[in-house]
C-alpha cells in the first residue's frame, strides 16, 4: 500500500513517514505542485493532506483528486481549527480531518479506518494475528467466536492494532479514549483499568494477540 504525505514541514513529514512506513510505502510532497505531480504517478491507499502549503491551499489537491474521480482516501491535517475548513474539506470529499498537533498513533488509526472505508467499502475484515476485526460493526472475534468487548475496549484494541509493534504511552491512549479536551492526568487509572479488562478478555478467548506493558508507562500489541 502506498501513502502520500503532503506536508510542507519536512521534519513532520519524515516523522509520519517513519511511523507509518512500517506498514506502508510513504511518498512525501512539500507543495501543491509536487503533490499534483505525485498524484499522476500512482494512486494511493491514503493521502495525508496539509491544507496550508507554500504555493496554495491543500483543498486544491483534494478538488483535483475528485475531478479525476480517484478513490484515494484523504485525511486532512491542518493547523487551522476553523470549522469552515473542516466542513469544506469534508464536503469536497475528504474522509477525515485531524488538527495539529496530533499523536502519530491517532493519525495511524484514522489512516487505517480511512483505507478500510475508501478501498474496501468498509466491508473488509481486518485480520490481526488470530483476531478478526469487523471495522463497521466495531466488533472483534476469535476463531469465529464473538469477543464481548465494550465500545471503549474496542476503540482501545483498534488503536493498538493500527500501531502494532509500536509503543503507545498511557497518556497517548488516554487522549484517544477521552478526546482532545480531557487531561489524561485526571484519569491516571483510566487506561490501566480498560487495558486490564481488554487483556483479560483476549486471554480468556485464547488469542495469541499479546499486549505487553513497556517501560511501566506504555503498551505494545504484537500479533504473537
Amino acid at each position: 500500500m502506498d501513502l502520500l504525505i503532503v506536508e510542507d514541514e519536512r521534519s513532520l513529514a519524515e516523522d509520519i513517514s517513519a511511523y507509518l512506513g512500517r506498514d506502508m510505502r510513504c511518498f512525501i510532497a512539500g507543495t501543491v505542485r509536487e503533490a499534483m505531480d505525485k498524484l499522476v504517478d500512482r494512486s494511493y491507499a491514503c493521502i495525508i493532506l496539509d491544507l496550508t502549503l507554500p504555493d496554495g491551499n491543500g483543498l486544491e489537491v483534494l478538488r483535483a483528486l475528485k475531478d479525476m474521480a480517484r478513490a484515494d482516501g484523504v485525511v486532512i491535517v491542518s493547523a487551522k481549527d476553523a470549522l469552515d475548513d473542516r466542513v469544506e474539506g469534508l464536503r469536497i470529499g475528504a474522509d477525515d480531518y485531524i488538527t495539529k498537533p496530533f499523536h502519530l498513533a491517532e493519525l495511524a488509526v484514522r489512516v487505517q479506518a480511512t483505507i478500510r472505508r475508501a478501498h474496501f467499502g468498509g466491508q473488509d475484515n481486518v485480520c490481526v494475528g488470530d483476531l478478526v476485526m469487523d471495522i463497521p460493526a466495531h466488533t472483534a472475534s476469535h476463531a469465529g467466536r464473538h469477543l464481548p468487548l465494550t465500545p471503549t475496549e474496542y476503540r482501545l484494541l483498534a488503536l493498538l492494532v493500527a500501531s502494532r509493534d509500536r509503543v503507545l504511552s498511557r497518556s497517548t491512549i488516554a487522549g484517544h479514549l477521552t478526546g482532545e479536551d480531557s487531561d489524561p492526568e485526571d484519569h491516571a487509572e483510566l487506561v490501566y483499568t480498560h487495558m486490564k479488562n481488554l487483556k483479560r478478555k483476549l486471554a480468556a478467548a485464547g488469542s495469541t494477540v499479546n499486549i505487553r506493558t513497556v517501560y511501566g508507562i506504555g503498551y505494545s500489541l504484537t500479533e504473537g
Binding site: 481549527d81 495539529k100 498537533p101 487531561d183 484519569h187
Partner: protein, 428 residues
C-alpha cells in the same frame, strides 16, 4: 445630573434670591413713599384750613359756628379750642378708627397739630383713610412680581430652547458612538456640526474608532495566525516524542521523562485551544445562529467521556423535559455542554453520580464530588483551577452563555455541585 441642569442651577438660585429680595423691597419702598405723600398732604391740608379760616376774617361767634360746621361735615378735619396738653407741634400717627361712612374700623393717617385762628389757638386733627392706598401698594407689588416671573421664565425658556439646539450635534455624536461596533465593519463618519468644539469632538471620535477598528483587525489576525504558527511547532514536538518512544533500548527512566513531556505537550495544546476558543467567543467570531436539541448534544458529550464514566462507575441520569429545540449554534452548544459535563465528570469521584435535567429554558447539571462549595467569586475566572484541569472549562462555558445572553449559575446543596444554564432572559 445633566450638564444643562448643572449650568442652570446657579442661575435658578440667583433668580429666586433676586425675587425674594426685590418684591418685599419694592413693597416697602412704595409704601414709604406713599406715606410720605399722605403726610405731606395732611400738613398742606392743615395749612389750607388755617389760612382759609384766617382769610374769612370772622368774628368770634361766626368762627365758633364755622368750626362747628366744619366738624359736623366729618370731612377729615376736626377743630377744637386748644387745651393745655394738646400737641403744639405736628404729630402724625396711624390709627384704626371707626369710619361712620364705611361702617367699620379703617386705618387712618392722622395729624394732630395746633393752628392759630385770629390769634386764638385751636387743636386740629386732620385724618385720611389709608386702606385704599395700601391696596394700591399691594397691587403694584403684585404686578411687579408677575412681570419679574414672566421675564425670568421667558429667559429660562429661551435658554432651554437654545441649549437644546446647541446640544443637538453633541447628542447626534453620542448616538453615533453608541451605535459604533468595532467588529461590524461600519466605520464612524464625522459629520460637520457648524460648532468648532463639536466638529473637533467628531474628528477625535472618528480617529479613535479608526484606531480601534485597526487594532481589532490586528487582534483577529493575531489570533488566527497564532492558531497556525503555534500548532505546527507543537505538532513537531509531539511527533518527535511519539517517535522517541519507538527507539529500541529506552530505559524506564527515559521513558518516564518522555511521558512527562508527552503530557506537557497535551496540556499546552489544550491550554492553547481553550484560549483561542475564548478569544473567538469574546471576539464574537463564533457562529451565533442555529438550533440544537439539547439532549442530543448532552448525549454526544457523555459519549466522548464514556471511558471515564465507565472506569469511575459514575451513575448518569438524564431527565429531558424539553419539547422544543434550543436556539444556539451547534458548535457553541457542543462547547458549552462538553465543558459543563466534562467538569461534572472530571471533578467526580469513584461511584459518584451526575444528574442532568433539561427543560425548554434551563439545563441543570448536578454532580457529586469534593464535599465543599466552590468559591463563586472566582469560579468562572480563567485559570481558577481547583487542581484538576487548566481552569478554562467553566470560563469557556460562562463566555458561551454570556455570548448567547444566557446565565450560568452555581449552587452547592447537600454535597452536590449544580450548574444551571438559564435561557429565560431570551425571548423564544
Amino acid at each position: 445630573m445633566k450638564l444643562l441642569h448643572r449650568t442652570r442651577r446657579p442661575f435658578w438660585i440667583y433668580t429666586v434670591l433676586v425675587l425674594a429680595l426685590t418684591v418685599p423691597a419694592c413693597y416697602l419702598i412704595l409704601e414709604r413713599q406713599w406715606m410720605a405723600d399722605i403726610d405731606e398732604d395732611l400738613l398742606v391740608q392743615r395749612q389750607k384750613v388755617e389760612a382759609g379760616l384766617n382769610g374769612l376774617a370772622l368774628d368770634p361767634k361766626e368762627l365758633a359756628i364755622t368750626v362747628e360746621r366744619i366738624n359736623a361735615l366729618r370731612s377729615g378735619v376736626q377743630l377744637a379750642p386748644y387745651h393745655e396738653g394738646d400737641p403744639i407741634g405736628d404729630v402724625i400717627t396711624t390709627e384704626h378708627l371707626h369710619d361712620a361712612f364705611h361702617g367699620h374700623d379703617e386705618p387712618f393717617r392722622t395729624l394732630h397739630s395746633r393752628i392759630m385762628v385770629q390769634g386764638r389757638p385751636y387743636a386740629i386733627r386732620v385724618e385720611r383713610v389709608i386702606e385704599e392706598t395700601e391696596e394700591l401698594v399691594i397691587a403694584i407689588a403684585l404686578v411687579m412680581l408677575v412681570v419679574l416671573v414672566l421675564l425670568l421664565g421667558g429667559i429660562l425658556l429661551l435658554d432651554r430652547m437654545a441649549a437644546t439646539r446647541i446640544w443637538a450635534p453633541f447628542n447626534r455624536t453620542l448616538q453615533g458612538i453608541k451605535a459604533f461596533q468595532v467588529d461590524s465593519g461600519d466605520p464612524f463618519h464625522a459629520q460637520p456640526t457648524g460648532v468648532t468644539e463639536f466638529d473637533e469632538l467628531e474628528r477625535a471620535v472618528e480617529q479613535l474608532a479608526e484606531r480601534n477598528t485597526a487594532l481589532y483587525a490586528e487582534q483577529k489576525r493575531f489570533t488566527e495566525n497564532a492558531a497556525h504558527e503555534m500548532r505546527t511547532p507543537v505538532a513537531l514536538l509531539q511527533s518527535k516524542v511519539d517517535r522517541l518512544f519507538q527507539s529500541p533500548g529506552l530505559s524506564e527512566d527515559q521513558a518516564r521523562l518522555l511521558e512527562e513531556a508527552n503530557i506537557t505537550i497535551g496540556r499546552m495544546r489544550r491550554l492553547y485551544d481553550g484560549l483561542v476558543l475564548l478569544a473567538r467567543i469574546d471576539n464574537d467570531r463564533a457562529p451565533a445562529q442555529g438550533e440544537v436539541k439539547p439532549v442530543d448534544t448532552v448525549r454526544g458529550a457523555l459519549a466522548t467521556l464514556a471511558p471515564v464514566v465507565e472506569e469511575l462507575n459514575i451513575n448518569v441520569s438524564i431527565a429531558d423535559q424539553s419539547t422544543r429545540p434550543w436556539s444556539i449554534a451547534p458548535s457553541l452548544a457542543e462547547v458549552l455542554f462538553a465543558n459543563l459535563i466534562g467538569n461534572a465528570v472530571n471533578h467526580n469521584g469513584r461511584d459518584g453520580s451526575i444528574r442532568i435535567v433539561i427543560t425548554n429554558t434551563t439545563m441543570r447539571v448536578s454532580n457529586t464530588g469534593v464535599g465543599e462549595a466552590l468559591d463563586p467569586a472566582i469560579l468562572f475566572h480563567r485559570f481558577a483551577s481547583s487542581g484538576k484541569g487548566l481552569g478554562l472549562g467553566l470560563a469557556i462555558a460562562e463566555r458561551v452563555c454570556n455570548r448567547r445572553g444566557w446565565t450560568l449559575q452555581y449552587a452547592f446543596e447537600e454535597g452536590s455541585h449544580t450548574f444551571t444554564v438559564r435561557t429565560d432572559q431570551v425571548a423564544h
